[in-house]
Amino acid sequence: MNSHLKHALPAWVWFTGLMLVFVILYAPILSALVFSFSADRFPSLDITRFSTKWYAQVFADARALEALKNSLTIALSTALVATTLGFAAAYADFRFRFFGQRMVLALALLPPTVPIVVLSLAMLAFFSRIGLSGTVGSIILAHVVVATPFAMAICRLRLEQMPQEYETAAQNLGATPGQALRLIVLPHAAPAIGAAALITFAVSLDEYAIAWFVGGLEQTVPVTVLNTLQGQVDPTIHVIGTLAFAATLSLVFAAQLLMLRSTKSHKNKEVSP
């Protein structure tokens, strides 16, 4: 729309800069992808042979599979709980005006800004006091704390696009508040709820520090990766890294797609006479 605007610098400068950023961001990941298919024991650029043996090794490794099972259980539970809580918080903020609302909102959005080591230590101290530390449940709880603000932020964005009248109009036509929420608000927020679930799943799947602190012997995939690295350089790392990156990328991509499509349909609606 603003293509006629001239930038302060020529286009090639912007383009080169952008490419540089992408190279720095993605080159290491790309290298992991390349080395994951190399038959060599140590990563070096004169790759002798293509091989999928490291993949086979990962999928035969009981420890890795156990970690994967843990990670998926934790991520799924976190996504469910964090999305539910996040939507509820976003809805409360959207629908009601109450004393201390800004304060509550600030507190609810705070956890991701706390340094992760501080948060992890506090979690560990707390969970060991109540006898929960070292369990999958404790990792889920801790991940819910970190992921909920993301879910809330995503749901708020979507709810803010909805005129307040929709819900009151439903009530005016005889819908109880529960029916209005179910029949009007939820369908409107559905793309955001889906996106929130995907993002919170990804947040939990990638999270390393908290899982390491509070998980004890229960290891998630990132924790396994790090533990493996501490011993030696194992080529299976490239495999796990590549798989983890692919998983996260698809989750974030799907979430983006959901949000984008919902805002598009929203815009179309506004444009129509």
Binding site: P163, T168, N172, L173, G174, Q179
Partner: protein, 366 residues
């Protein structure tokens, strides 16, 4: 005496220290088309929202057919509202929108479909029944909003500036349809608007609100011909106002002694000499000439500007005392007048065309 359909008794609404609605008493008869008009922030929408149960009154009563409905939650009231932005449910088709209220009231499917079809037909939108509401024109959306409320067969329909989203042409067409619909159905309409043309052309009675209070309640003719206060006169527009003291002369003439001289009136009403009064004269009753000697009340003025308004022209004049006068002339009369801005002209009118504002006798008329 039949019972009014909808009554407001001493209705008040405050937000903190701000009083949005103050001591409103109003009764609306069954089958009446009532318009509530006023500038923005006058409390008209708040009053409407209290009728629908969207706001709780701070004090006072709302009664529907004699039953107090103050504490009835929104979803149990039968006072559907047509929203300013229509608030049609996106993601739903026209049919789903119209059937929504019937579903909520658990009307069995066959009856629901029959009533929905009947209203879609009646409002001429049957052809769009399965279309998404986002893919409709402004006028079609308006009809869906009406059908969605009317399908519930309410006793009273509340409308909050329903035509404000339409362009001028479409708005006038919908006004005609609304009026016809209301007559045919015999449903009470309570219609909030800031537009005089809508209120005056549609309503049986008009309420003019200002700063949370009712300034005047009457038929459109009443309000147009006999505004009760300066506010109403100014809000209705096209009215020149003169202030002065009521006085009767030795020759038996009665008028108000203003900065622009003695302005005679025909009906002194029962106001007493010596009271401060405002005199209102409608723009279409003022005659403009280039020579003096045409009327009883004649004020020399300067022609300030002309405002073209189709078949008529509004002339803005100013007297030596600084009073603004607006006179409405036919195009052909303006051509005959051939006056230019800055020129001296004379504004005159008959004593019977002057209306005293706030005079006690006028209340009996309303």
């Amino acid at each position: 005496m039949t019972q009014p359909l909808l009554e407001l008794h001493n209705l008040n609404k405050s937000y903190g220290t701000f009083e949005a609605v103050k001591d409103i008493d109003l009764s609306v008869d069954a089958g009446e088309f009532l318009a509530i008009m006023g500038p923005s922030g006058c409390g008209k929408t708040t009053t409407l929202r209290m009728m629908a149960g969207l706001e709780d009154p701070t004090r006072g009563d709302i009664r529907l057919e004699g039953q107090q409905i103050n504490d009835l939650p929104v979803w149990q009231r039968e006072t559907p509202l047509v929203w300013q932005n229509l608030a049609l449910f996106p993601y739903m088709t026209v049919r789903e929108n119209v059937e929504f209220g019937l579903r909520m009231k658990k009307v069995p499917a066959p009856e629901r479909q029959r009533r929905c079809a009947e209203w879609l037909e009646r409002l001429g939108i049957a052809g769009f029944a399965d279309r998404n509401v986002a893919k409709l024109s402004g006028g079609q959306r308006q009809r869906v909003a009406l059908a969605r409320s009317l399908v519930l067969q309410p006793k009273v329909l509340l409308l909050d500036e329903p035509l404000s989203a339409l362009d001028a042409h479409m708005s006038i067409r919908m006004q005609g349809e609304l009026k016809r619909l209301q007559r045919e159905l015999g449903i009470t309409f309570v219609y909030v608007t800031h537009s005089h043309s809508e209120a005056f052309s549609l309503a049986d009675r008009v309420v003019i609100m200002n700063a949370g209070r009712i300034e005047q309640l009457g038929t459109p003719q009443d309000i147009f011909l006999r505004p009760r206060s300066r506010f109403v006169a100014q809000f209705v527009g096209g009215i020149s106002l003169f202030s002065g003291v009521l006085k009767s002369t030795k020759e038996g003439k009665i008028g108000i002694d203003s900065a622009d001289g003695l302005l005679q009136i025909a009906d002194p009403a029962s106001a007493q000499s010596g009271t401060r009064c405002d005199l209102a004269v409608r723009a279409d009753r003022i005659n403009v000439t280039t020579q003096p000697g045409w009327g009883t009340n004649e004020v020399p003025c300067t022609l300030m500007s002309e405002e073209f308004a189709g078949a008529v022209v509004n002339l803005h004049l100013e007297t030596a005392a600084g009073t603004g006068i607006v006179a409405q002339l036919q195009q052909r009369d303006l051509e005959r007048l051939s006056a230019r801005a800055g020129q001296q002209v004379y504004a005159s009118w008959h004593p019977e065309d002057g209306v005293l504002l706030g005079a006690p006798a006028l209340k009996a008329v309303a």
